[in-house]
């Protein structure tokens, strides 16, 4: 009997808690005191405090708005967003990136912003052109740029000094870099001159355009991987591996190139701007690293990517959402990003503030690269051929197949994926 009674008590408690928990749920953005709650989806814990600061600034000026920031880690962000999109409960405003923009825009999940931009007299020329292009799908703009990132050549001054090699500068060519890497590689100490990274934006997405090639055609219909420029832009990385100037793919699988650079095992690395805070918070290397623009191959190029703030088509508060997005795109809000040093703010007029966020290193290199930035390659189902790239890049870096074979395979499968998108 005793067991029975205690079990029924437990069950009653359980039901009560369930009911109470059920009652306390949020009511689709309308709280009782007439305030409008805007939900904001993002994925980076390290940028969340800055986003909160901006939200507080905005709330102070607009007393009837409350901004609810919803953080989901990157690994689960897109799954969650897709589920929410199916259920039409996307956050009012959320971060979106290049590989996903076409998919969300073409499926009418986002609010087109052109008319709003026009009626509010917003000057889009303050944002990098490559980013506006990236977020324009079928002639319509779907996101206001928040930040951007480019890749630069980072180097460890201590390792250069030890071998008496001159630091890289903005006039370097690829051959200069290889020459320096030869001098810097020290097999006994386990130090390599440069990391040949099996990467896209921090690797072939830069070197292929620098060799005169492209990743995807402008109409997003054909792959550029089967051109001789692509071959050149890829082969130079493999040559570094073959000469033993870079850690092998196996070594990089244990500890990736960024970690090897932090651990002072590679003297030079191609690393994107999001690594700035990562490197500069590392007390072991931060005082003796610096960066410069990527060395010249045939021409100057750098693939630009960046995030945008987008408004969900299912939002019940589109006007309020737009007003907040407009605020986030303003110079005032971009200044907050610039001072934080966390990301490169999208607004061109605050770049000098950002450059001085870490005054000891040459952040200007990124701004210089902006002059010749090329758009990040995307299409409707970017992830489909991104998987192909990853797979065959791995095989080429592992030297299981030749560069010629690998690129041919990527081009073939990528073209196939692109045809299916039509």
């Amino acid at each position: 009997m005793k067991i029975k009674r205690s079990l029924s008590i437990l069950l009653v408690v359980m039901m009560l808690i369930t009911v109470v928990a059920g009652c306390s749920k949020n009511d689709a953005g309308n709280s009782t005191d007439g305030k409008v709650t805007l939900t904001f989806g993002l994925w980076d814990k390290y940028q969340e405090p800055i986003m909160r600061e901006l939200a507080d600034m905005y709330e102070a000026k607009n007393e009837n708005i409350k901004i609810d920031i919803q953080l989901t880690p990157y690994g689960q962000y897109w799954t969650k967003l897709e589920t929410a999109a199916t259920g039409e409960v996307l956050p009012d405003i959320f971060w979106i990136n290049g590989p996903n923009i076409v998919k969300y825009a073409a499926n009418d999940m986002l609010v087109p912003l052109d008319e709003l931009v026009e009626s509010n007299n917003i000057d889009l020329s303050v944002y990098p052109e490559g980013l506006i292009d990236l977020y324009t799908v079928e002639g319509k703009l779907y996101g206001i740029p928040k930040d951007w990132d480019l890749t630069a050549l980072w180097y460890n001054k201590k390792l250069f000094d030890e071998k008496g090699v001159e630091y890289p500068n903005e006039n370097w060519t690829w051959d200069d870099m290889v020459e320096a890497a030869r001098k810097l590689t020290d097999k006994e100490k386990g130090i390599y001159g440069i990391a040949s990274r099996p990467d896209t934006q921090e690797g072939i997405y830069d070197t292929i355009p620098q060799a005169g090639g492209y990743i995807i055609s402008e109409d997003r219909k054909t792959s550029g991987y089967d051109t001789k420029e692509a071959l050149e832009g890829t082969k130079i990385w493999i040559d570094l591996l073959e000469e033993g100037l870079s850690p092998t793919l196996e070594e990089q699988a244990d500890t990736n190139a960024i970690e090897l650079f932090k651990g002072e095992k590679v003297a030079m690395v191609y690393a994107a701007s999001w690594n700035v805070p990562v490197f500069m918070e590392n007390e072991i290397i931060k005082d003796h690293i610096d960066l410069t623009v990527m060395p010249l191959i045939k021409e100057r190029a750098a693939t630009i990517h960046g995030l945008s703030n987008a408004i969900a088509a299912n939002s019940k508060h589109k006007d309020e959402a737009w007003d907040f997005v407009k605020f986030l795109g303003s110079k005032e809000a971009n200044e907050v990003w610039a001072k934080s040093g966390a990301v490169i703010p999208a607004h061109k007029e605050v770049l000098d503030i950002w450059e001085s966020s870490y005054p000891d290193i040459n952040l200007k290199a990124f701004v210089d690269e902006l002059d010749y930035a090329v758009m990040y390659p995307v299409s409707m189902n970017t992830s489909k051929w991104n998987d192909v790239e990853t797979e065959y890049i791995k095989q080429m870096w592992n030297r299981g197949i030749t560069v010629e074979e690998g690129l041919k395979k990527i081009a073939e499968l990528m073209n196939e994926a692109l045809t299916k998108e039509q």
């Binding site: 749920k25 949020n26 799954t79 259920g87 918070e281 590392n282």
Partner: protein
Amino acid sequence: MKEISSNKKRMQINKIIIHLLLILGAIITIIPFVWMILTSFKTLGESTIIPPTIFPKQMQWENYKEAMRTLPYGKFYFNTIVYTMLTTIGQIVFCSMAGYAFARIDFKGKNFIFVLILSVLMVPGQIFLIPQFMIMKKLGLLNSITALVLPGLFSAYGTFLMRQFYMGIPKELEEAARLDGCNHFTIFWKIMTPLVKPGIAALAITACLYCWNSLMWPLIVNTSIDKMTLSAGLSTLSGQHGTNFPVAMAGTVLAVWPMIVLFAIFQKHFVEGMASTGSKS
């Protein structure tokens, strides 16, 4: 005489070998935990240094402060405990009843329904994600503890496990009870269930572990940080490009200790339950 002593010796050697192997196994399983604790006391730079240091140069208690500052651990603990308790109680109640029915009652379509339930085990959980989400949305339950708990109240694995335990009980007991005038519920409740306590303990432990570890569902169904569980909240500590490992490890230590304590208390049942999952006839 001589033979006995050599036998004894051999047994001793065997014992030593077995213990050495067990110690080796224990070390291998413990190393990640020890490493987690050591890393949680390092600075960011020290955590990525090559070659790695084993002991932190200086104990960085700030990492724990930082983890507790950035995440509302009080709420996480509360949500996780409520989630775990409700799910565990639900599974014990529903799975033992279902398990009993499948093991002891003859009814039409029994095997068909049982196979149907088993087939759920063969489908990866991610497939239910969107349908479950849509159901919760239709019920207006998104962003609530109820939505977190509801899909986990019943489990196919638990039903299968409990069925195996109920099948292991001799038929004579049931017949004797019936002669004494018991109906199915009293047999289930008074005779059988007290005999399958190890099974219930095993089910409770797996359900607890499942709740404590589950990530995708809590993360997807609940969006505000106040409604998150420990595992979901903890995952937000990893950045896209760089993770502050010492802080993340400190956060993990804070999240796993209740499970370690629970395991230490119930480990006897845990092992027993696992060992008898198969046939017990």
